[in-house]
Amino acid sequence: MTTLITKTVSKACVPIIILFSISLLFAGHDYPGGGFIGGVMFASAISLLYVVFGLKYIDSIYSYQWDKWFASGLLLASLTGFGAMLFGYNFLRSSYLLASLPLAGDIKLLSTTLFDIGVYLVVIGSLLYVFKGTGEDE
């Protein structure tokens, strides 16, 4: 798979896929998207890199510990649930804040976004951990 054409195309594509996956992540709840779909897309972008450039080359640049991503995602998602208790509400109760930020304009800041980011990290971490683990296996 490591031809010049695939390398060049994937170098161009991977940042776009990652940006699209992040936009999918934040589009969730109101439009199609959310943590799971965004995470799968991010994982597919990184696995494209693994396939095209090879595990060893990617690891020589930076060795990602995907299990840490998985764990921090799970932690973030569950702590979002506990966060609602601090304010005297039930577990996972969501709330939002209407804010007008410079450049972005009026947007809704949802507490469930944190939960979605947690799901995003869990999906990325678990898929790539399995992918890398089976890839390393001789």
Binding site: S72, L74, F91, R93
Partner: protein, 512 residues
């Protein structure tokens, strides 16, 4: 009171948080052990306070996310809270035991996160009020227990190839059963349009009253019997247990045989007694028949085994038959008996498995014929094993005596003479195979003289002794003073037969 309100969700969510934390701090072994024992001790205390709270103030309903009338609920009634206390007790003891028993490599890799997820799955199953969430927690439980079975401990003489074969069976068969559960839940949802168990119960009762109960409700009830019967290792579905459970390391074996197969019994008690009243008239005879076959097959298979772990696994199959016999008879007294039996078997069996793991390590083999005279080198283990065997066989002064007494009394009271007769005959089988095993392991001549020096270095450590001794105390306590357990069980049985308070607590609550 305000902080007590969140206890049901904390029991489910706290192990999940710690599953994540233990992945992040994998390398620090000492910290991990202390942290996890602390967490499980905390969960046990919280579950106990939840049970007291439910006992004093009635059923607690917790709305996750405060979504209003259609949200996801956790319902802690006496049955659910009681099962959570039982599972927290056993998982605390298994955790204390495992910190010294499991290999360092297993502890550093995946043991702690998966054990936490398993506890979260168990607590979730017992506390959820939503049948689809029950399905989700079944998945959590199955996947985490798969990962735990392949880990190795010090008394573990199972080859990795055998473990992987066992996992393959467990995973594939579980997926089949869980897809069956999904189909059943989907058909139920298509019929009544809700997934909340109390709401389903009300709607099905209404359909039955107006005489428009669709026939496929009975089919759904039978499909769910298959699913839960598979979990509980009911007769035609028991074949996987004797391969899978003995492959697991001792603490996981104790969890699987102590708690995870009880999940099937809990499922029948919760779902069928709440929702499928109308189908029980045809399911009860089937349950009684199958549980009798389970008792027979389990006990006769156990008599022929020389592999200690397999023998005890077949014994679990046989004992779960007694619990389901009580469930099948279905009178208030029989359900009380089933609950008492369930609790006693869970505690005694998990203690026996923990003791077995240590005995196998001490003896260096898993073949009963090669062991003998261990009472000299391991007096502590022999006492613990004896107490466990006495409780399973039903001898006083252990809890198992009252479990069998109440069960047989309930059966005779409800005029099930032939089933009780069969159960009694195979109770004698249980006595025979457990005491034959105990005698051949701990009494008689020391068989392998060349290994005697090795025995001295293979003694149980303090943590293992503590967990075994505490469980033994519980077993003896249940035998000497069974009154609280029997009163609790009979109240649970009344609530199961009259689910109106449960339905009222769930449906007639104030919504934001």
């Amino acid at each position: 009171m305000d902080s007590m309100q969140h206890v049901p969700i904390i029991l489910v969510a706290l192990p999940m948080v710690f599953a994540a934390i233990t992945v992040l701090f994998r390398s620090k072994s000492g910290l991990q052990k202390a942290l996890n024992i602390g967490v499980f001790a905390g969960l046990f205390v919280m579950s106990f306070s939840l049970l007291l709270d439910v006992w004093n103030n009635g059923i607690i309903v917790y709305e996750v996310g405060e979504w209003g009338k259609y949200g996801i609920l956790l319902v802690a009634d006496l049955l659910g809270a009681g099962m959570v206390v039982l599972s927290s007790l056993i998982s605390l003891m298994a955790m204390i035991y495992a910190t010294d028993y499991m290999d360092r490599k297993a502890l550093d890799a995946t043991f702690f996160p998966l054990f936490n997820l398993m506890a979260a799955g168990l607590n979730g199953i017992f506390l959820t009020g939503d049948i689809f969430n029950m399905f989700v927690f079944f998945e959590v439980l199955v996947l985490s227990s798969c990962g735990l079975i392949v880990l190795t401990g010090r008394g573990d003489h199972t080859k990795m190839a055998d473990k992987l074969e066992a996992i393959f069976k467990y995973l594939i068969l579980n997926m089949v059963s869980i897809i069956l559960m999904l189909v059943a839940i989907a058909s139920l949802y298509a019929t009544v349009g809700t997934l909340n168990m109390a709401d389903i119960a009300v709607k099905i009762a209404y359909l039955a009253e107006t005489g428009t109960l669709p026939w496929h409700i009975h089919v759904i009830a039978m499909m769910l019997i298959v699913v839960f019967g598979y979990k509980a290792a009911l007769f035609p579905l028991h074949f996987w247990l004797a391969d899978v459970h003995p492959s697991a390391p001792a603490p996981i074996h104790a969890m699987l045989s102590g708690m995870v197969i009880k999940v099937g019994v809990y499922g029948i008690l919760r779902v069928h007694y709440l929702i499928f009243h109308e189908s029980m008239f045809m399911l009860q005879p089937v349950l009684i028949l199958l549980s009798l076959v389970t008792i027979t097959v389990g006990a006769t298979s156990a008599v022929g085994q020389y592999d200690l772990k397999r023998l005890l696994a077949y014994s679990s199959v046989s004992q779960i038959g007694y619990v389901l016999l009580g469930v099948g008879m279905g009178t208030a007294y029989a359900l009380t008996a089933a609950m008492v039996y369930l609790v006693n078997h869970a505690i005694a069996k998990s203690m026996l498995f923990l003791a077995t793991g240590e005995t196998l390590y001490h003896a260096g083999t898993k073949d009963i014929r090669k062991m003998g005279g261990l009472v000299q080198s391991a007096p502590f283990l022999s006492i613990i094993f004896l107490i466990g065997a006495m409780s399973i066989a039903g001898l006083p002064p252990t809890g198992g005596f009252f479990a069998k007494l109440v069960l047989f009394d309930a059966g005779l009271g409800a005029e099930y003479y032939i089933p009780i007769g069969i159960a009694l005959v195979f109770a004698i089988f249980t006595l025979f195979y457990l005491f034959r095993t105990w005698l051949s392991i701990f009494w008689g001549e020391v068989k392998e003289h060349d290994k005697e020096d090795a025995f001295k270095t293979r003694n149980p450590t303090i943590a293992i002794k503590i967990s075994l001794a505490l469980l033994a105390c519980v077993v003896i306590f249940l035998g000497i003073y069974p009154e609280p357990l029997i009163v609790l069980s009979s109240t649970i049985a009344e609530q199961l037969l009259d689910p109106q308070p449960y339905i009222a607590a769930v449906l007639e609550r104030s919504v934001r």
